[in-house]
């Protein structure tokens, strides 16, 4: 009996091993192309490592000098290019994300409402998702030519009289930022909407039905059933969007830039990833680029943690903590 069982056990383990083989490629690729660069970045952030012309200086260990430089610059805390570009990034992300999630929620609620029964939902879903299919580069260039000094939108605004005859929209910091936010908003609201629709469809329809029988209005249902039960999906959308948003690069780097790749005007549309790239191109200052990258990583981490804290299911968390505590007690 026991021998037989042992054999059987052995066989199952044998099969299980193949599973590891199949997931191995991911980990190998991850280690080479993600983990190693990550470690390397952190390592370089503690180095003095730049090039003067073709003469490379370093890498020499210089402690936290890069971090001090990135944090304080010329003395004032946070008054550095790293934080200014990070600020630009956050402004452009927030200005795109708030309207995006609101509109997506509204559309998702409409499209899934069994009482409204919109016709042609499939068509709307597809057409709203379409902007996401166009490459970001083409969109950036398209919008730039629309709003450039002789572009059709500029001329339209001139004719209406909203802006002066010689006014250049591209010289306005906020206009540039808002247009970039708008492109991002327009590209991504369809995507967010589809994720939210999936989330709403995952909610037990009995709940909606029961609420309706009890006489709840649509807004009550939305507020008290849809929103609370959509929390995990909203959390997912928020976290992925913030990670993507803080690494915003493609649109601003092609929208209103000069030949050296600075976000115009006066670095107002320079995002932190554009800045990091510039550091590695101009003087190959890998040390400070590394430090800026680590700062970006930390900020992303903080923002994600804040979202988790506010949006995750507190009740469940408390229960888990309580269970853990109990176990701990019994162990003691």
């Amino acid at each position: 009996m026991s021998i037989k069982r042992g054999k059987r056990k052995h066989k199952t383990i044998e099969y299980g091993r193949y599973g590891y083989f199949f997931i191995a490629p991911f980990f190998i690729v991850y280690a080479i192309f993600h983990l190693w660069p990550l470690i390397n970045t952190i390592w370089m952030s503690f180095m003095e490592y730049y090039a003067k012309g073709l003469k490379v200086v370093g890498p020499n260990f210089n402690g936290f000098k890069n971090y001090v430089n990135v944090l304080f610059g010329e003395g004032e805390l946070f008054n550095t290019f790293t934080f200014r570009t990070l600020g630009n990034t956050i402004i452009m992300w927030v200005a795109n994300f708030i309207p995006q999630i609101l509109l997506s929620l509204l559309l998702a609620a409409w499209f899934t409402d069994t009482r409204v029964k919109l016709r042609g939902v499939g068509f709307f879903k597809v057409s709203m998702y379409l902007p996401n299919i166009i490459t970001a580069a083409s969109l950036a260039v398209l919008f730039f030519s629309l709003f450039s000094i002789n572009g059709p939108m500029t001329q339209l605004l001139r004719q209406i009289g909203l802006i002066g005859e010689t006014y250049d929209i591209m010289d306005n910091k906020w206009a540039t930022r808002l247009i970039i936010s708008f492109i991002n908003f327009w590209m991504w609201y369809g995507n967010t909407m589809i994720i939210l629709i999936a989330g709403i469809l995952g909610i037990n329809p009995n709940l909606f039905e029961a609420a309706r029988i009890d006489g709840a209005s649509s807004s009550q249902i939305f507020r008290n059933i849809t929103l609370p039960l959509l929390k995990p999906i909203t959390l997912f959308v928020l976290v992925t969007s913030s990670i993507g948003g803080l690494q915003m690069f493609d649109i601003p780097s092609l929208f209103n830039v000069n030949q050296a790749g600075d976000g115009l005007p006066d670095y107002a549309s320079n995002t932190i990833t554009m800045y990091i790239r510039k550091l590695t191109l101009a003087s190959k200052d890998y040390g400070r680029a590394g430090a800026s990258s680590v700062i970006l990583f930390l900020v992303t981490l903080c923002i994600s943690l804040v979202f988790f804290f506010f949006l995750s299911d507190r009740k469940e968390l408390h229960e888990r903590v309580a269970i853990k505590k109990k176990r701990g007690m019994s162990n003691v």
């Binding site: 490629p25 580069a137 083409s138 092609l254």
Partner: protein, 471 residues
């Protein structure tokens, strides 16, 4: 057992597959894309690229012309087809046997040119090592002031060979008395104006007479006001305020930083800021920025009176954008010296330290000193060549009469201007620093910042970019 082998095989296939996919994305300089000869589409002028660009700005692929696999391949690098079309093509006519060995690599645009060749220069054993490479004015110092380039004397170029070259082209490539590159072109600048508009608003159209209206900066400003007034605001002097930048920049006596690595803003650059502000405040420009689509389009439009440009600018910017005689402005242009003599740009050829064949490198460089080759280049490409005798002969033969300029002899016109060029101070970081300066000039001109703040911010931006510079 079979299953195990199958599993291992599948895993390997997946790993190799994903690695290969990643490898292709990396820009290997080894890309031998010989079949892709469609060069014009690959030039990086924004719009054409968009269809190829996927998620973000991609590093353009190298284009290779020539037999890259040959044992004795001689690699020449450039960021566009200039070197190929304006030098190597004519070199091949004179030395067909040697030319067969030349492999020309076009890295596709200036943006990534430096990072591509820098990596190769550090790797002499690489088959693709740049035996010879092009260097642009804005960063020539970076290479000549390093050990990565070979003095041309080691390739057999003597003082006598250089006698017909314009002095400034030699100075520009000389560091500590050692000459490290040669240029086939000289790039004196001039002012290109619209003859028909000049006739209309100034009453004259011939260069000598028009020059009177632009003899110095103040007169130019007055003329600008006059044109604006007479045309009822329809015709502006320039397309953008930065059109005059290169003229001022060529007059610098300090590079952007001094020997102590301290940033210096030259007085002429401060003058430029003031002049640009005046142009803007008086409404004498169309407020475009240089190289933008609008700026290019204004060549065809009556809203712009003149451009400041040089030899290559005449052919490849003004003429390229002018359209034909019927609908465009072809043949309606004239050229005068403008308020100040200057030069703009130029490409030098340097030899890599570990060049595989110094003899061939010498032969190519020697061709740049050869009158007949230079004459062929000038005739074929209209480039203003760096050879005084060749220019004089061509001009005498009437080759310079250019119907685009309504018959004006551009060779004869540029010739004294080229002689007068004095090399300004410059540094290897010019490209990036000048761009940072432009950002702040723009803020100052638009009235968002005062001058001191703009200069302060410029210095901050530069010190941030280059850790070894200080305010």
């Amino acid at each position: 057992m079979k299953k195990r082998f199958l599993a291992i095989f599948l895993v390997l296939a997946m790993v190799v597959g994903s690695l290969v996919a990643c490898g292709n994305k990396d820009d290997e300089p080894a890309d031998k894309n010989v079949s892709n000869q469609d060069k014009d589409n690959e030039q990086d002028d924004g719009e054409n690229d968009v269809s190829d660009v996927e998620e973000e700005e991609e590093v353009p692929e190298n284009e290779v012309v020539g037999d890259a696999d040959a044992e004795d391949a001689f690699y020449v690098y450039g960021w566009n087809t200039d070197v190929q079309n304006n030098v190597l093509k004519y070199f091949a006519e004179f030395y067909p046997e040697d030319a067969k060995r030349i492999v020309f690599v076009n890295t596709g645009g200036t943006d990534f040119y430096q990072s591509k060749i820098d990596a190769l220069l550090e790797d002499p054993n690489n088959k693709q090592y740049p035996d010879m490479f092009a260097m642009e004015m804005d960063y020539i110092m970076k290479y000549t002031d390093s050990d990565y380039t070979l003095p041309v004397s080691e390739c057999g170029i003597t003082e006598a060979d250089l006698s017909e070259m314009y002095e400034y082209t030699i100075q520009a490539a000389t560091v500590d008395g050692v000459l490290k590159g040669l240029s086939w072109q000289a790039c004196p600048g001039a002012m290109m104006y619209r003859r028909d508009l000049a006739e209309k608003y100034l009453g004259v159209s011939e260069p000598e007479e028009v020059q009177e209206f632009f003899k110095d900066w103040d007169t130019m400003l007055e003329t600008g006001k006059m044109i604006l007034e007479k045309s009822g605001g329809a015709t502006k002097l320039f397309s953008g305020v930065d059109d005059v930048k290169r003229v001022y920049q060529a007059g610098r006596t300090h590079a952007w930083y001094d020997d102590n690595n301290k940033i210096v803003v030259d007085d002429v650059m401060l003058d430029y800021m003031d002049y640009a502000k005046q142009l803007f405040d008086l409404g004498l420009t169309n407020n475009t920025s240089q190289w933008s689509d609008e700026w290019n389009a204004n060549v065809k439009s009556d809203n712009t009176f003149a451009y400041m440009g040089c030899t290559w600018f005449l052919h490849w910017t003004i003429k390229a954008n002018a359209g034909d005689a019927e609908t465009g402005t072809y043949g309606k242009w004239g050229m005068c010296a403008g308020p100040q003599s200057y030069y703009w740009g130029g490409t030098w050829l340097g030899v890599g330290k570990d060049c595989s064949d110094k003899e061939l490198a010498g032969k190519i460089l020697k061709a740049l000193c050869d009158k007949d080759v230079m004459k062929a280049i000038c005739k074929g490409s209209l480039d203003y060549v760096n050879h005084k005798a060749a220019i004089a002969e061509l001009s005498a033969e009437g080759e310079g009469a250019y119907d685009f300029l309504a018959g004006q002899d551009f060779l004869a016109y540029f010739s004294p201007l080229a002689e007068a060029i004095e090399l300004p101070a410059m540094c290897g970081e010019d490209l990036q620093i000048t761009n940072a300066f432009d950002n702040q000039v723009n803020e100052f001109v638009n009235g968002n910042k005062d001058k001191d703040k703009a200069i302060e911010d410029f210095k901050s931006a530069v010190t941030d970019l280059y850790p070894y510079l200080s305010k």
